[in-house]
């Protein structure tokens, strides 16, 4: 008999395969060869050191947002406001970056800490209402996204705009730069932070009592409460941590890549992260793999649009198909195995 884990992995692989197959049909429909598209995608993602670095660069925000999603999913919660936390965190880190003169390492750490704090504050209200009144966090966090994006845009254009035509803030000081790994790419230490977070989250959930309590709450909140876990407090704290990681993702983008905040800072990475986490079944280590997969798709698609007649948007289509296939199989699995589906919304 297959173990649950193997069954889960098989399910995800089948979901991806179905999505890619439908993608191939769409590529055929626009008169391009799916094989050529695939070869170009791989070449664009891994063809030379610059492109590999580019893939890892795209992967970094997806990974960190994915970890933020994993953290909430483990506890049976769904923080879909990572996008907003990323924007707020990115803005907060940039503000620290250009407002203060601090020694190099201190400046970076202070900026990242501030980004995490900002992300945490951004989820605090939805988290409080979820913990205290059982308000659906999916709705409240997604609404907070719009506020975050518009607020940062307002602050950028009306309060902190640098002189000239651009809707940008001033650049951060060099002391706040998150160091690059290679001279030829904007890839930076954010990748290591992301991988460390993934390993940390994995160890926390599998090796600590507190992590076990969270997983227990995710599996069956009633049972966890019966077992003596303070569900309200744990829900609140878990969402705060998830929000902090989301904010950190933004801080890493601004201190590591853009060195400033601009309108349309890093759109969509929060949602990509949620997809990566869902595809990884909420496993932090698995999210490293899925984030790499999405990063490679994204970076490969940038070559795709130049070297073939296929549009880059084909990648968005494939991603959407993956979401459909994954959510379909989650539903099927839940219906097949779960008699207490009414009690919880997300099972991992």
């Amino acid at each position: 008999m297959m173990s649950d884990r193997v069954a889960g992995l098989m399910g995800q692989l089948i979901a991806v395969a179905i999505a890619l197959a439908i993608g191939a049909v769409i590529i055929l429909a626009v008169n391009e060869s799916p094989l050529r598209v695939l070869v170009t995608l791989i070449d664009g993602a891994f063809g030379n050191p610059e492109r590999i670095a580019g893939t890892l660069l795209q992967m970094t925000p997806i990974l960190i947002c994915g970890i933020a999603a994993c953290i909430s999913l483990r506890g049976g919660l769904f923080n879909i406001g990572i996008e907003g936390q990323l924007f707020i965190g990115g803005f907060a880190a940039t503000w620290v970056g250009f407002s203060f003169a601090l020694p190099p390492l201190v400046h970076v750490l202070f900026g990242l800490a501030f980004a995490a704090l900002a992300g945490m504050l951004w989820i605090a209200v939805p988290a409080f209402f979820r913990a205290r009144f059982n308000t659906n966090e999916v709705v409240s966090t997604i609404l907070a996204n719009y506020v975050a994006i518009l607020l940062t845009s307002y602050l950028t254009i009306n309060v902190f705009k640098r002189p000239g035509g651009q809707p940008d803030t001033p650049a951060i000081l060099e002391s706040a730069y998150l160091p690059q790994i290679f001279s030829f790419s904007r890839l930076n230490w954010g990748l290591f932070i992301g991988v460390a977070l993934a390993i940390g989250a994995y160890l926390f959930f599998t090796r600590t009592a507190r992590g076990y309590a969270v997983t227990e709450m995710g599996a069956n909140p009633k049972f966890a409460e019966y077992g003596g876990i303070d569900i309200k407090r744990q829900t609140f704290v878990l969402l705060l941590v998830s929000g902090a990681v989301g904010g950190l993702a933004g801080g890493i983008e601004s201190l590591g890549v853009h060195h400033r905040f601009m309108e349309g800072f890093a759109p969509g990475f929060g949602f990509d992260g949620v997809i990566a986490a869902l595809l990884a079944n909420g496993s932090p280590i698995g999210t490293i793999v899925t984030a790499l997969f999405f990063g490679a798709l994204r970076n490969g698609s940038l070559l795709l649009e130049v070297d073939t007649t296929a549009s880059r948007e084909i990648i968005t289509v494939i991603q959407a198909l993956i979401i459909l296939a994954v959510s379909a199989q989650i539903l099927v699995r839940r219906r097949a195995s779960d008699s207490t589906a009414g009690e919880r919304r997300w099972k991992f």
């Binding site: 610059e50 009306n158 904007r186 349309g264 940038l302």
Partner: protein
């Protein structure tokens, strides 16, 4: 003549033409363009010019849409420049400037053309539009009409004209400066009320601001605000007043209410630059190509639905001012 021999002659003619075309362009000219605005007014005009060049010269054309992720821009530029396979790469959009300058420095043999602005990089080619001159005529027209007041249907005696800008940035100030100078030159007594929406993406706000300007006595409002400006044009129809379009022919957005459109003919600019390459005279790196009233790169188009309502004397005044700008007798102020 039998239909066969006719066909044969046609065939021979066609192959001769094809041969001639082949000889003329021994090396196929490849052109790329990268922007996030190919679906919007000014960008559409660029695409039109490139498609025309594709049809006329048989060039190879690649359009790359940047999308909205700043993270992608650099890789997109690198992917275009990597093989040096494009003779010219057109770039439009200020958010691309950092990536453009970085790539242009890394690939000195790839010739980038920055459309609608001038930067300090010496190895980029610039296609610049004298929007101040076109706006000068728009201001002259609007002020002359406002001066006539209620003598013209749909106008009041507020003796004022309006301006709705997108964001308060230098390029929009360049439009405004020209508009103001044109209004002063044509009718010094007419007041100018200028407002900025603060955004290029909010038609509702454009509409609201325009209604406010109408309330303050302006009856003609010039929009320089991208999609926000659509709201300006629509407000002119809703309020039964007038507006002026920008960048492309916007007369059809609110027919009968858009009085004129100030055209920045990006299609003409890109077409002529591509033609230069096809003719073997590619533009020099660092050269600035200015498209102004004189070269026909900017122009004030009087909307056909409204043109009969504009008195001959106003038309003559605008024409005279245009002649003065073209001859250099009037220098229109510019904002950089």
């Amino acid at each position: 003549m039998s239909s066969w021999s006719r066909r044969l002659i046609a065939l021979a003619g066609a192959s001769a033409l094809a041969l001639a075309a082949n000889a003329a362009s021994a090396k196929e000219v490849s052109i790329a363009a990268i922007s996030g605005y190919f679906a919007q007014g000014f960008g559409v005009s660029i695409v039109d010019g490139l498609k025309k060049a594709e049809k006329d010269f048989g060039i190879k054309l690649k359009l790359v849409d940047t999308g909205n992720r700043a993270l992608d821009y650099e890789e997109q530029f690198n992917n275009i420049a990597k093989d040096g396979s494009y003779d010219l790469v057109f770039v439009m959009g200020w958010e691309l400037v950092d990536a453009l300058q970085k790539t242009a420095a890394a690939y000195p043999n790839t010739h980038f053309v920055f459309i609608d602005g001038v930067l300090d990089s010496k190895n980029i080619i610039y296609a610049n539009f004298a929007q101040n001159q076109g706006s000068f005529l728009a201001g002259a027209l609007a002020a002359s009409m406002a001066e006539k007041g209620s003598a013209i249907a749909g106008l009041g005696d507020g003796k004022a004209i309006g301006f709705v800008g997108g964001r308060d940035i230098p390029v929009i100030r360049d439009f405004l400066g020209g508009y103001e100078a044109g209004a002063k030159a044509a009718a010094p007594d007419v007041r100018l009320d200028a407002v900025f929406a603060g955004t290029f993406d909010d038609p509702a706000k454009g509409s609201e601001l325009t209604m406010a300007l109408y309330g303050q006595g302006s009856d003609i409002v010039y929009n320089v605000a991208g999609p926000t400006g659509e709201g300006v044009l629509q407000a002119s129809a809703a309020a039964d007043k007038y507006s002026i379009g920008v960048d492309i022919d916007q007369c059809g957005v609110a027919p009968g209410h858009v009085m004129a459109s100030m055209l920045k003919k990006a299609d003409v600019a890109v077409y002529s630059l591509v033609k230069d390459v096809v003719d073997g005279k590619p533009p020099e790196p660092g050269s600035i190509h200015t498209y102004d009233l004189k070269s026909g790169g900017v122009e004030l188009l009087l909307c056909p639905q409204v043109v009969d309502k504009i008195p001959a004397e106003v038309k003559a005044k605008v024409e005279a001012l245009k002649a003065d700008v073209v001859s250099g007798k009037i220098t229109v102020p510019t904002v950089k």
